[in-house]
Symmetry: C2
Subunit: 321 residues, 2 copies
Amino acid sequence: MAVYTEFNDEEFAAFMAGYDLGKAIAVKGIAEGVENSNYLLSTERGQFILTLYEKRVDPADLPFFLGLMEHLAGRGITCPLPVRSRAGSALGRLAGRPAAIVTFLSGLSVRRPRAEHCREVGAALAHLHLAGEGFPIRRANALSVRGWRPLFEACNGRADEVLPGLGDEVGRELSFLENRWPMDLPAGIIHADLFPDNVFFLGDRLSGLIDFYFACNDMLAYDVAIGINAWCFEPDASLNITKSQALLAGYTSVRPLGPPEAGALPLLCRGSALRFLLTRLYDWLTVPKGALVVPKDPVEYYKKLRFHRSVGDASAYGLDR
Amino acid sequence: MAVYTEFNDEEFAAFMAGYDLGKAIAVKGIAEGVENSNYLLSTERGQFILTLYEKRVDPADLPFFLGLMEHLAGRGITCPLPVRSRAGSALGRLAGRPAAIVTFLSGLSVRRPRAEHCREVGAALAHLHLAGEGFPIRRANALSVRGWRPLFEACNGRADEVLPGLGDEVGRELSFLENRWPMDLPAGIIHADLFPDNVFFLGDRLSGLIDFYFACNDMLAYDVAIGINAWCFEPDASLNITKSQALLAGYTSVRPLGPPEAGALPLLCRGSALRFLLTRLYDWLTVPKGALVVPKDPVEYYKKLRFHRSVGDASAYGLDR
């Protein structure tokens, strides 16, 4: 949530000269996304987002991310569309960083989603899964089951600093999920980070999806599980089944979940909760005190994980069979 | 350079309902200003800046700041114009903070000003000084000569951590300026922080002035001295006399400097350099390591201060007599 890289007048003018966007009218660094530097760019042709990709993004992944947005936008998903330069490239360089300009999407993210929002998000996620078919580049999910143990080990046994006993419990959960993680569910392009921050609404209608920088190839139902964790819990980390029912109804109205996917849902929710627990735990233990990016509380996802462990089958989320 | 306060959907909707701006289309936290939380707000009526005033701003000063922008905008200065609510107030509350909406100004700030920019800034500063006449509220300059010693003392004798010998030298400079500081030059409303960040251009033409949150009543020529320090030095802290000549020519083309003002200019430049040296020194010594707001280098202003001490009279800045 910050601007990490700034640029001077000459390099910005040279960068803009490569695009057919007219003169720049305003450029403001915006506090959106935690990985990259984002600027709201107004030109004679309209509004855009200019992104400078920072160190945590692998430049080798950029053709995937930019190509995916172009692929999805071309199939009716309201997501940022990369603007190609006069030379035909979606990826440029500014201030020594890889940089891209994408279209600006109207809409506001909701901080306290209601069931109507959850239904819209479920449907949008299914549309995204269908629209992802045929996208030719592949990107493995670095934060799926094989990535969790290295992350846990990078926490150096310090999990109990957050909550006594947490280290043992996470270790057991990790072993359990490593043994049981499904491998043969329908797979494709997933967003993998569809939190309320990344979804815009105008009124109660969904108006856009942003931030495709965790998108990858993985099981589609895993994305649904991420959605349940991100949208359907109350601030006290209790599931609101009206919301999860709405999210699932929205999803299945567009793309039905097969019986193996429905059966695996509680396990996928556990895995998704563990994934966010682990990344938050790692950030919590490593972000320097006093930094303006306040790390998010890992305990929230520990509570969600415990809930999912108590679940018998997908009816606990309100999935209609 | 961050968003400190966020708000939820309900409180934002209630806040917006008080204004006649139509529906909100987008709200983005922007990395502008270091004191307050700023959002770029797009509505059906256009673009605006929404500011939530944080702890470092005294709420008692807000009628001065908002009233001043309204006063200046009504006299032809291109500055943000506070939008009044349906109830007629320029000041509201959001998320427990005083909050205001002001108009959005087009333009880009320059990172490496050229002489053309300096001339425009000089003229704009003089127009601002003239337009400030008749503004009925007064606000003392807390960062003028009487505020410097408390700031120096708050550094607790740690100046030498930045540069050996700096503490003694600052102490001597402080005593010198306290004895010689002029008190009887023409006074009025000054901007007091007209750095390149706070001035927008479209091409080489100045298109707007922002950030009036240091504005106050003080000697007008002191604002000119701040401008020279902020705009006319090269990155190695050497004066570029072409730029200072341009700034002064721009200023005097609108408002001539009287002989007492011209005579005091080197002293006012010393004082202004000391003021920014002291605030930077204090921030340098107190901002926690790892914070995303990187404190600015105090040594830059120490070098500028040394330059001004070597100056005989205002001709060193290229002032035509």
